[in-house]
């Protein structure tokens, strides 16, 4: 089936099988490999993208369902050279280790602070409940999102927990 959609601001037309999952279309056809596959039961959240402005799990969406949609993947989140505050937060607050869950985590976190500019720790933790991370224990992910929220509000983030050089 032919589908046409906008991906990171660019219009894309492609012929896909009905059974092609959106995440495979993004990874294998568009070669945008920042969106990851960590499970097949829509639990891990590594495949999180924005579809028509909402964070969704692209492993549990058919590519044909995205016909006509606007999609943003991790590759399209930054504003040119300027990192999104969440990306900056993850770097500044060591919110990633192996980086595999990170794109999905960042895409979800971007929505959390967009919808709730000053989230509590509890709101952040619940907000990323559908994004599994095995490396960080979530501690620094929470700090990274707090950093990003402060930045997005135009405030100075809390200092890091460690001494910097």
């Amino acid at each position: 089936m032919e589908i046409t959609l906008t991906v990171n601001g660019e219009k894309v037309t492609a012929d896909v099988e009905p059974r092609t999952l959106l995440v495979h279309f993004i990874r294998d056809e568009l070669r945008l490999t920042g969106t990851h596959v960590g499970c097949e039961t829509s639990y891990c959240g590594a495949c999180t993208i924005h579809l028509n402005g909402e964070a969704i799990k692209s492993c549990t969406t058919l590519a044909v369902q995205a016909d006509g949609a606007e999609i943003t993947t991790i590759e399209g989140l930054a504003d040119g050279e300027t990192l999104h505050p969440v990306q900056e937060g993850f770097w500044e607050r060591h919110g990633l280790q192996c980086g595999f869950c990170t794109p999905g985590m960042i895409m979800q976190a971007a929505k959390i602070i967009e919808e709730n500019p000053d989230p509590s720790e509890d709101e952040i933790r619940h907000g990323i409940d559908g994004n599994l991370c095995r490396c960080t224990g979530y501690h620094n992910i929470v700090k990274a999102i707090e950093y990003a929220a402060a930045k997005a509000r135009g405030e100075e983030p809390e200092p890091a927990e460690w001494e910097t050089v």
């Binding site: 099988e17 009905p18 039961t41 969704i56 044909v64 619940h126 559908g130």
Partner: protein, 277 residues
């Protein structure tokens, strides 16, 4: 894990979708896809045709119709969790469903159609005394909540029917939902949970449903009877599992899950009574 091959049609109207189901006995309806697609990926389900109702206009609203709230087939769990029109039991159940991304995609009506006893919103739906509207080429019928669920992952919908709307009566009073999730607290599918609606803070007139423990979300009529006769929520909750075949699973023995059902029936009732006042 990849689905087997299938045909796909994005229906433009309920009528078109109904006709497709009528003509294709091997077809399955998809709204958000959050129940259907995982089953297809695991190849537990392999329909020949997927009828996507996700693009049909007019099914995405929550409407106050005076005596009931009408919830369209494409209304997401997130909309339920956030809408001021939705009674507390259902709002809470929707908020405890899946995770943020899942709630952005999964529809409430889809959860009813999927009929998973471990899901949250069907239990609240039963306690609130809702109905569903099922359409096929021959017309439509309304099915009451306590007749909606037939068996494990089996609703009363026929293969040629589409669930187009869920109706929740505006009964006033108060309602609540509480559960234990698989990962503890409220996280993940329900190990056991209960929803309660009460007409007033006395709790004598009530509807209580139990989820997670048997094959289907079920009305706890024994509890309701006890409450009607003036029992305390704690005493009434002792009858939580009457008429329910409690099933052991990885998360609990029959004894434990029966116990949990009582705990959450009591908690839901007490909270509903508090919400009513």
């Amino acid at each position: 894990m990849y689905p087997r091959e299938f045909e796909y049609v994005a229906a433009g109207s309920v009528e078109e979708a109904a006709q497709l189901l009528e003509d294709n006995p091997g077809a399955k309806v998809m709204s958000g896809g959050m129940s259907l697609i995982p089953m297809m990926k695991l190849r537990l389900l392999s329909p020949e045709l997927v009828v996507d109702i996700g693009r049909i206009p007019g099914l995405n609203t929550i409407e106050d119709r005076g005596d009931h709230i009408a919830i369209g087939a494409l209304v997401r769990q997130r909309q339920i969790a956030e809408s001021p029109l939705i009674p507390m039991a259902l709002k809470t159940a929707a908020a405890q469903t899946g995770d943020a991304q899942v709630r952005n995609t999964a529809t409430f009506a889809g959860a009813i159609a999927h009929a998973d006893v471990a899901a949250d919103t069907p239990t609240a739906f039963v306690a609130l005394g809702g109905t569903i509207v099922a359409k096929c080429v021959d017309g439509e019928r309304e099915i009451a909540a306590d007749a909606c669920f037939v068996d494990t992952l089996t609703s009363a919908l026929e293969a040629n029917e589409i669930l187009t709307e869920v109706r929740i009566p505006k009964s006033g009073g108060g309602s609540a939902y509480d559960k234990l999730g698989r990962r503890g607290g409220h996280t993940d599918y329900s190990v056991a949970g209960a929803a309660a609606w009460v007409a007033d803070s006395s709790g004598r007139e009530c509807r209580v449903a139990v989820g997670g423990v048997g094959t289907i979300p079920a009305l706890a009529s024994g509890v309701m009877e006890a409450m009607a006769s003036g029992a305390s929520p704690e005493d009434a909750a002792e009858r939580a599992c009457e008429g329910i075949t409690v099933l052991e699973d990885l998360y609990g023995s029959e004894e434990y899950k029966s116990h949990l059902a009582k705990v959450f029936v009591r908690r839901a009732l007490e909270q509903a009574m508090a919400n009513a006042s």
